[in-house]
Amino acid sequence: MGLLTEGSPLSWEQTKEHADHVREHGIIQFINLFHRLKDKTGDILKFGDEVEYVILKVDHKNKIARLSLRGGEILKKLNAKEQENPENVNSLWRPEYAAYMIEGTPGKPYGGLTAHFNIVEANMKCRREEVERFLEKDEILMCLTAFPRLGCPDFTWPICKPNPKDGASHSLFFPQNAIFQDHPRFVTLTRNIRKRRGEKVAINLPIFKDKNTLSPFTEDFSILGDDGESAKAALPDHVYLDAMGFGMGCCCLQLTFQSCCIEEARRLYDQLTPLCPIMLAITAASPIFRGYLTDIDCRWSVISGSVDCRTKEERGIEPLKKNKFVIPKSRYDSVDSYLSNDSSKFNDIPLIYEEEIYQKLKQNNIDHLLSQHIAHLFIRDTVSLFSEKVNQNDEIDTDHFENIQSTNWQTMRFKPPPPNSNIGWRVEFRPCELQFSDFENAAVVCFIVMLTRVILSYQLDLVIPISKVDENLKNAQKRNAINTEKFWFRKYINLSSTMCSNLLKDPAFKNINFTPDDSEPVYIQMTINEIINGKEGEFPGLIPLLNSYLFSMEIDADTHCTIQQYLNLIKGKASGEIMTTASWMRNFVRNHSSYKFDSLVNDEINYDLLMKAYNIQTGQDSCPELLGQTLGKFSKTTDNIPSSLKKAYCPKQSC
């Protein structure tokens, strides 16, 4: 979840005093690193995924599944192996916000051979097994975007009570001990975000109105110790959440890839931005919060609200007095501007930044688009500062820059090379929700990385106005958006490329006009099915484009077999033949014998749902309605790339 610095955190009051100091030096650090690294080129493709896992403690006798707070303990054991032999581990493990979470990444990034798409799933499987060795009796490891009964009474193991008066979040539902305790960052962030905001965070999710749901649906929070703040903040007919843990305690699937140079990174940042809402809708996996079925399918608005540190002035509720700006979005939200010249004409929402900071960047020979991007990130105050890190050498250190960069949690992240490494310019893709199985998660990762290759090979242009991407992101979270919503998407995907028009002579894309009349907008509204699978005579579809690319590459049989399974999954989700995880969960609840059609997901439903999901993950249940027809244990995914392929395609062992 961002930079982890060892040391002692400053109090909010001290942190606040240093806000301008961090900003000033963060900008200088960026200027220095930019000029040091802007010409770095020739980097090959490398990519990696980040999967967040939850540890469950299951009481089979009473049919209760709880979140086990042993993340820190397990992490110590996992990290011991890494410390012994950092160069030669299959996976790396890092703490996450909640004590029941851990984050795993591959030990080394995957490389740029097509065969690397065949090792992602095997690595995920291996990662899971590494953790499972350290689990206790009745503990299981799961990929779960949002634990359905998060914030319900006694949802943790050991059972902890919320601390509405003295905890970092003052939550009525989320206990202090459910926050990861072995590193001070998480508690500090929680406290500082609440303090900066001036009140508890407040998230209201529309409740899913079933036939017996209370109407209007309201709850009495006084019995939980509410002093009136929650009663005021909660909206009728909504599920109310009041803590950072409801968002940052969710898990997600992120991927980062290295570009060959800064220009390519900027381009891919732009090109993937319009895909964020689409992938969010496809991977939707969180319809239940605090034990209630909601009318949304995704975590995004929850996590956005959960770290919304804007004051009332900044949210536009009170006139500006102490603060500088009214800020339209939380620091966890969709990106606000494109970074490359070709896309800049689609930067159509006002970008807020301090003129002085922007000018400083410009004066130091950073171009307009990057200057405004960085200046915009730097409207945020630091919300976590460590005493040891206040004074830095701006020539070498980048902590102050990273401090602000890593607490701007946006759909995409543009990442400069880290200091003292041979890593290149990178882009992080952050919207996706987690699926239950390694197969599905690997499919999502490979799909996106392959798409970046198609975009670069065919010089596709998928960019649409940022305001339309924002509109899409809102719609993507709605219940069953994948099958019911329409999304703005670029119809003419080759405007700036001569190459692409040639592609269209491919008989597969017959009758599709890729160059518009002058009067016609380049983007239209399409269903996800049309975007992914194509629409005859209108839009080629991302999967047909991908297939066209794949068939022009040298791909080994096992990898091609695996890729086909992945594409079938995405294809099936988009066409509605296969359910999203969110629809499947909603469906499971509504068909459960103890569900009373009152939106309530009780302990028994929760237990049965999670046990079923666990069996899907282990492969014990094949669940074609969620996964489609899969190869199951006959999957060709493998731990290592065959030596014949290594010898042929990367003799220097560079990839």
């Binding site: 002579k505 491919d506 022009s552 791909i555 049989a557 042929a648």
Partner: protein, 262 residues
């Protein structure tokens, strides 16, 4: 075979692509691509390609994503589709395509020998005969590795054991990529052979699809030209493709077709 200059490269070139196919209906994508390419070539050239002697070369290609830096990092492959075991024909196909690409060395060449279905008995013999040509090009340093497509496991193993320059690629149809025979898999693993996929029909450019193309086009041409094209047949087809090493970026793809006009 002296017709190296008789290519037709239109200014508005085409990137022809294949589509992975899962159904029978779509099985002819490669053919369609070549035909589409030929059509564009025949109809968009300012001058109709002039045959030289008895042959006509048609090329559809694009060059994309190639900076000078990229050129040093290309991974290139030629697949040659051939119906006759005539060594001159194979040699012509490869020499022509290699020189056309203007690269000092091609990473891999795959031989697709499209024998008649009743010929299976002598297939190994014929392949061994043709293999010599490929080996020569490897010895000359024009090709790094050679492979073969769509042969039975025993034919492949026998070929492997009989030849001097060993095949390092076995190309199979995409539809079989999830069900590679275990004995083939084991053999390939043991000998560092790549099993790669393709999506090409058995007969890549059937004459009955090709001929009408020329009849239509010839309405624009003189009568004696029409006559020349009445007996057209395919000598060979090559597909070339290149990607940038370790970046997964497709850089070049196209086809060259040589037609005989006898």
């Amino acid at each position: 075979m002296k017709s190296h200059k008789s290519r037709c490269i239109s200014k508005n070139t085409t990137h022809t692509n294949n589509l992975m196919k899962f159904t029978k209906k779509k099985k002819k994508k490669t053919t369609e691509q070549i035909i589409e390419g030929l059509k564009t070539c025949l109809f968009s050239c300012e001058d109709f390609p002039k045959p030289e002697g008895d042959s006509l070369h048609l090329k559809r290609a694009i060059l994309i994503n190639q900076t000078d830096e990229d050129k040093k990092n290309l991974q290139t492959m030629i697949k040659v589709f051939i119906t006759s075991e005539d060594l001159n024909c194979l040699n012509d196909a490869l020499q022509y395509t290699i020189s056309d690409l203007e690269l000092p060395c091609i990473n891999s060449v795959i031989l697709s020998y499209q024998h008649k279905t009743n010929e299976t008995q002598n297939i190994l013999e014929k392949l061994l005969f043709m293999w010599k040509t490929l080996e020569d090009l490897v010895v000359q340093g024009l090709i790094t590795s050679i492979g073969i497509s769509d042969v039975d496991t025993d034919v492949f193993i026998n070929l492997y054991n009989a030849v001097e320059v060993k095949p390092s690629i076995h190309q199979i149809n995409l539809s079989a990529c999830c069900v590679v025979p275990p004995d083939l898999q084991e053999f390939c693993k043991e000998h560092d052979i790549r099993i790669l996929t393709h999506n090409d029909p058995f007969d890549i450019l059937p004459v009955n699809i090709l001929k009408p193309l020329f009849q239509v086009n010839n309405e624009k041409n003189e009568a004696d030209e029409t006559k020349r094209f009445s007996n057209i047949n395919v000598a060979w087809v090559t597909r070339f493709q290149a990607h940038i090493k370790c970046r997964g970026i497709l850089s070049n793809k196209g086809y060259i077709v040589r037609l005989n006009l006898r």
